[in-house]
Amino acid sequence: MRYRQSNVRSYIAYFFLQIKQGLQYRTAAIAGAITQFCWGFMLLFIFQAFYQSNIQTQPISYTQVVQIIWLQQAFLAFFVLWFRDNDIFTMILTGSIAYELCRPIHLYSFWFVKLISARLSSASLRCMPILLVAAFLPAPYSLKLPPTMEHFLYFFLTLFLGLVLLVTISMFVYISTFYTYSAVGSMLLFAVFGEFFAGLIIPVPLMPLWLQKIVYALPFRYTCDVPFRIYAGHIGIPEAIVSIFIQLGWILLLVVLGRLLLQKSLQRVVVHGG
């Protein structure tokens, strides 16, 4: 393991190479967009039935839930934790990681770039068709513009920080492969709890209050719950600004922890295969 001073340019070049590679999977993206679209509609109908069957006012309106659901479907590739990069797993399991360790690069940053570009290219192929179609749907189901231009700006900012935060979180899954040797189980377990706490299964405002307290103390909701609710107008500007600082804090903490852990596991790395 070596941490030589590496040059930023190589990471940028690698980033664009990965994006180009990811953009090749167009058919998969179309299939994915259609699946996401159907899924979104199913959720809309279920929530509509819940809202229509009960008259009491809820902490979040149906229209706001609709916004959140479409944004979730469009940016799914940013925020699902089960989205996995098989290259990295294969590297660890087959032992070809030995080659990576010989390169004059920093492994953490290298993986980070790889993961973030994979998510960016996958989402950029999928989000546009979903957002476009959702915008032209009839009244209760359509995606609207956020309440003000300011909300829109904060949405973009928190969306980007959310993506960075999510990649730092997902890094721990890859690091854990050094200990469990097969990532499927830990991945699934981590993914399903992470997505639950991120509000991807039910929107955070609809959770009971005690659960919301737990959710607010964990990093997961700062990935996608914050930007989507800003867009829907459910989170105001003052809270948005506070959330940005919390996002930055989590990113810093998790990067430091992740690097330490990776360094530690590389010290005991066993290269499998001969």
Partner: protein, 249 residues
Amino acid sequence: MEYRTSFLLLSFAQFFVPFLIFVSIYLLFQRFPTIAGWNLYEVAFCYGIIHIGFSISECIGRGFDSFSPLVRKGLLDRFLLRPQSIILQILGSQFEFTRIGRLLQSIMVLGFAIIHLDIVWNFQAILTLIFMIVGGVFIFIGIFMLGATLCFWTIEGIELVNILTDGGREISQYPLNIYPEGIRRFFTFIIPFGVVNYIPLLFLLGKIQTSSLVVSILYTATPLAGIGFVFPCIFIWNLGLRHYSSTGT
């Protein structure tokens, strides 16, 4: 069984993935007491039936679910040479142990529903319940077969088939009357998930009262239509098999 931690984690995960979906339903019912006239326990019954059906069919129908490698690598040729039914051979080719976790949690949810609902468990009710589970298993296996049949033409597995399996499972874990007419019809007459939980449940839960014995027997028998679903699937499968030409080397 080589990677023990990993196997345990996987079974554990297979338990928790659907379990958290149920927890979400439970939490939603804390905010909204009913959905289209159904309460939490009635929806839990719906959920339990469909998830038990799905997990059993995933255990035994795994060969069809992951069929594309058999075609791609030409392994199917070996099956064709043996003097046994191809369908039975494929069903027996793989058994997925980790799905036990999923089965366990769906049985727990069904138990949770049954404890809280007062259904008179006479012979007819028990028979209806058994038919519902069996019907569900057959529908999922039928869809797996349709997906596998597509592989004869596409070689690669088609992700879109998941809309029918995963999507159908998620949709029919709620009673079908919450959806618009079109979806309800599709999942009753084309992919008949409705006949294994929604329709017989109307009768079991007393949402439809009937004094006529014939009508009540009809309700008990509706899940059998789910078994019927597998026959057109077998027919289409056989058409595909006739089309099959080996990719072998």
